[in-house]
Amino acid sequence: MVDEDRRIIAHLFRRAGFGAAPAEIDAATVVGYEATVDDLLYPEGHERPQEDLLERFHSEHCDEESPRWSALKWVYRMINSDRQLEEKMALMWHGVFATGWAKVTNGQMMSRQYEMFRDSGLSGFGMLLQKLSRDPAMIYWLDQHTNHADAVNENYGRELLELFSMGRGNYTEDDVRACARAFSGWTMTHVLPRYPTGYWPADFVYRAEDHDDGEKTFLGETGNFNGDDIIEIIIRQPATGTFVAREIYKFFVADEPDEAAIEQIANAYFVNDFDIREVMRFVLKSDFFKAATFKRVKSPIEFIVGTLRLTGQHRDAYQFGLAEVPKLSRMMGQEILNPPTVEGWHTGREWIDSAFLVERVNFATEKLTDTEAPGIVDIARHLSDTRTSISSADLLELCANEFVYIDLDDATREVIAEELSIPEEVACSGDEVIEAVAEVLALIGASKEYQMA
């Protein structure tokens, strides 16, 4: 049986981070669940990963103008950052405020946006919307630079209300218009094609002369509102609390919504003055969170990064092939920094489609059968340190319960046990144990249950 404390810590790391290796779970179990949550909530307490080496070692991909380099850097951080929740928050906000380099094209602007999500992902929701509204990638993505005092472009104003806060049905077309007017003059320094000069990133600029300073009525309030005034009104709306709660629930708790839990999260949002860090503290310490083990389908990037954190691959900069990671994620249906639409990705069961499932299963088994992967070597070493031999049945239990931390269905457990080609009694030394571990992990990685987090 799994140790319940370790099991729930493993769950926490899968959700508030990208999963953890057994040794990290051991360490966290010592300090306890609550302290581990508090630690995750203060990323500032840990250093960010060293990246100079990354740029030197992956110099063939190191092109600041290219969004592919932005994606490579981000996945490196997901795999290696000790500030796991920071990266996870960034991923959530990237899905909510979905911006794609298909249109933005400029790698540095995409990096800056993601870094803004990373740096401000746990701040107040108002602060986050203020930064979002000043983000050049977002401005270009939703044509906000063409929103002028005398020629309103409603695109950003509308999506701010529809997709980035309250949601449809909570405002009128007049509110959309007023919102868009309040953001007129919020623009960027330049829009240039890549050729012939090459890209350089645009900055936010506010042009007072292009701002409609007239009176506006927005959600029943009247004034000469500017963009930040609108944001102040938005964040206080009940619908915004529910929106934030629902997004956090979907991303951190479960695919199937539980309205009672969402209401509690929304309540935490208002009680804590729209502070996302405190909302996250409430969620991660709640009973509904702890009860929601394996209630989410892993997104492709969670699937990939979680597997790599288990196998210990790419945990230092000196490993070739990191550029494969964002590419694999794309092949599984989630191209990081390039969601298909402003609505972001369709999540949950929609991640599982025949072409994507083949990629997922093949990726997991390839990595988990790598007998030179540090994480797999560690597991084998742990076994040979503690025993001389182990039965194949015990090895399966141990791998499922203490290394991968997965709840295998009885039927799955039985199938894996029957189809293993390893000896009934595995000698815990040399190649035999490491190959046995790899085979057990590969079959676990091929299971339905492994698709879930």
Partner: protein, 388 residues
């Protein structure tokens, strides 16, 4: 030439192969308007000379490396659609490719046009290999939530759990088959049932596609380049009679800002030979008549070269190839007159959704409007349907 309206087709269903040229193919150097002196004003360094062009008529000719395509054209099997594009052209590769993939120039969409086609062809999802793509990952064009489509990088090595070998692989496949049974689960486990069903579909697709190379023999020797190998894979799957109706293949490298002359020679040489081998292979097996190939790129390039290559432009050209294609030039070649250009680009005069509509209605027998998000005039007479 198979335009005989009474031809018996043995109840065989029409097949579409879409070939994507990624990076923005330079149409002006593919079908060269050598008869227009303006061409040589604008293409001082990368232009194709009148002597070298493979003359179609007194105005235009194919790029000199396209000898095989030129002979297919002479046999009446190649339709050239000139000046193709869409309103308010977007010069981003990715956005423009999305637009072609989703048939949605104005709004973002995640429904691929071919995904919708696959759903129309097989609404009951009876055949998981109705749509098969060759290349790295499923193109957005074929993606539609809930509609199966297979993505193969290399047919010979395609499979599940491919990092295992021998007995381990066999047993792991057994395990997979048994683990992914879409059995009845209690309430709340719907997602596990879904995953089980998809796993079963994926395995069925793998099992079906794996049979194709073994059933295949041919005297045609394809090139070793990836496009030739992809099209060979398409031929193998088509000839295996698995019921695949939509194929997709990709060929990249067309973003010729520099070294255009050398790059284009290589790329179009490969396309020309690969397409020729493909149709020769199908003819050898008496299976060519069912197949139409559609060749497109996300945009064309600027009218004026940059001294070494050409930058992103708008209006380009597309091709339809096959024995049921009524070959020739369609649409007008966009004028090179600076007054007619759109900020230095060819002005498109044919909407790509007209071409899609033609293929859908006249070839696949599918009502086009809901697939291409609107009603677009078809090109008359390009395609002779199998059922006619």
């Amino acid at each position: 030439m198979a335009l005989n309206g009474t031809k018996v087709t043995d109840g065989k269903e029409p097949v579409l192969v879409v070939l994507q040229l990624s990076g923005g193919n330079d149409f002006m150097n593919t079908v060269v308007p050598y008869g227009d002196p303006l061409y040589y004003d604008f293409r001082k360094t990368v232009g194709v000379s009148e002597e070298d062009a493979l003359h179609i008529d007194s105005r235009v000719g194919f790029h000199p490396v396209m000898t095989e395509i030129k002979s297919m054209f002479d046999q009446g099997d190649v339709a050239v659609i000139q000046g193709i594009g869409y309103p308010e052209p977007d010069r981003s590769h990715f956005r423009s490719m999305d637009i072609w993939h989703t048939a949605q120039p104005h709004d973002f969409s995640d429904e691929g046009w071919l995904g919708r086609v696959i759903r129309e062809i097989d609404p009951g999802k009876k055949n998981v290999v109705t749509g098969v793509s060759f290349g790295a990952g499923l193109p957005r064009a074929m993606y539609l939530t809930g509609t199966p489509a297979i993505s193969v990088s290399e047919l010979e090595s395609y499979g599940l759990l491919t990092s295992l070998s021998g007995n381990k692989h066999r047993r792991a496949l057994n395990a997979f088959t048994r683990m992914y049974v879409p059995e009845e689960f209690e309430e709340g486990a719907m997602v596990m049932q879904h995953i089980g069903q998809i796993g079963t579909d994926a395995l069925a697709g793998v099992d079906m596609l794996k049979t194709a190379p073994g059933l295949y023999s041919s005297s045609i020797e394809y090139g070793a380049d990836p496009l030739s190998q992809s099209l060979r894979g398409v031929a193998q799957v088509h000839l295996a009679g698995l019921g695949t109706r939509i194929f997709y293949a990709q060929h990249g490298g067309y973003d010729v800002h520099g070294r255009q002359v050398q790059t284009q020679e290589k790329l179009w040489g490969e396309v020309s030979k690969a397409v020729d081998s493909f149709f020769a292979d199908l003819r050898e097996h008496d299976a060519a008549e069912q197949v139409v190939m559609l060749v497109f790129s996300e945009f064309g390039r600027r009218v004026r070269d940059n001294g070494n290559g050409t930058d992103h432009g708008s209006g380009g050209g597309a091709f339809m190839i096959g024995s049921r294609v009524n070959g020739g030039l369609y649409g007008e070649y966009p004028s090179l007159d600076p007054a007619e250009q759109v900020s230095g680009d060819l002005r498109f005069n044919n909407d790509f959704r007209s071409m899609y509509s033609t293929v859908l209605d006249d070839w696949l027998n599918i009502q086009p409007d809901s697939i291409v998000n609107g009603h677009f005039e078809k090109f008359d007479g390009i395609l002779a349907p199998l059922t006619s």
